[in-house]
Symmetry: C2
Amino acid sequence: MRFARISKDGDVSFAVVEGDEVTMITGSPFGEWEKSGTATTPLDEAGLVAPCSPGKILAMAENFGSHLHGAVEHTEPQPFWKAPNSIVGPGESILLPSHAGQVDAEGELVAVIGSRCSKVAPEHALGYVLGYTCGNDVSARYWQKNDRQWWRGKSSDTFGPIGPTIVSDVDPSDLEVVTRINGKEVQRCSVSEMIFDFAALISFVSQSVTLEPGDLIFSGTSGSPATLHDGDTVEVEATGIGVLSNPVAAG
Amino acid sequence: MRFARISKDGDVSFAVVEGDEVTMITGSPFGEWEKSGTATTPLDEAGLVAPCSPGKILAMAENFGSHLHGAVEHTEPQPFWKAPNSIVGPGESILLPSHAGQVDAEGELVAVIGSRCSKVAPEHALGYVLGYTCGNDVSARYWQKNDRQWWRGKSSDTFGPIGPTIVSDVDPSDLEVVTRINGKEVQRCSVSEMIFDFAALISFVSQSVTLEPGDLIFSGTSGSPATLHDGDTVEVEATGIGVLSNPVAAG
């Protein structure tokens, strides 16, 4: 199943996407839901917003060998917090803070937690996932390097685009994630290259942090991320999920 | 005014505290509110829970000279994220993770944001504050030192006690904060010693991160924090606000 959120007349509601048609639902994909009726809207006219509103977001540092640049692999996952103010949806602008310097895109796959979980074993962890979406772990490098912690380097307003939809029936061990800036490919990986896979990440995080429906786990990024400039368009595409596209603007 | 939240029959509602009596309110201190009636409950029987439910929590590293231990003062505030799963209220247990090693208490004053603010000037920043409460920035030192970022070192479940109430009419530049473990004083400071005061912190944070009603800004801690053990009771008291008391238990 493919879930989206739609903004219509100021109200935000969940919907399901079948083919290129969107049908509103009552309830929520995190609980009981049913289609509101038979009326559908074409996907490209539906007004998608971020597919959920996470309370917590944990992203991963250095979780792809291709992103280590010679550093030694960590023996445990290395999460960090992103904050809810970073979330924007498809088509919303990534704003480059005027005082930030270099800001890079990091294309990633994102697991969306479906139900509360605490201290779960790896072999049960994926049972707590609703589905997967694309994410962009936008990163201000000067702040990331020079601040005591990565609070604004990873969580300035608009630094967490997600979307376009949450897809429940993909295999999170075997998807390709491609990042493009102005149509030019700048990152490509298979999530099979993750040093710690989503089952390991969710299990590890949940030993310390209780996860709730809508919380997000970003996979970590691969290779050498590319820098964003005012006027760019950045896309993150994952197999079977779709394309998350965001314009970039001076903040 | 002094605001609290009360749990009664599974419902959580806001209340006001006058003297030692609690009166329920309709609405919220973050918007319009009025007393639900004239019935009052004695404060010590009211069942206080955490006085708000923050979406975002930023705490400060190294914001008191007495906590620097010889390190040089930073030229900018040094925030880090705590996460909502860390929040507990008065009387709720701080759980020591079995695999964490040394866990310390850090008694602090906490500003509670009252209305949305972005890119505010220091001279206007305190106008966005609803009031102040006590907080304990519980810290697992091994994780803080050895993890790439302070995600679980500062945000494991129960690592963010706040309360007992939010007080709107105190002077945030001139309060004493005292921390006790099993009745013995282990920290004492005046918030006048903050290297960056709340006006400076809120202005600085809001340049990158839009703050919302209920978000929290922890002051940073002073001196040399003390270590918690199973069976302890830890108290954080701020002048005019009250005592936040939490038992400590093995997790």
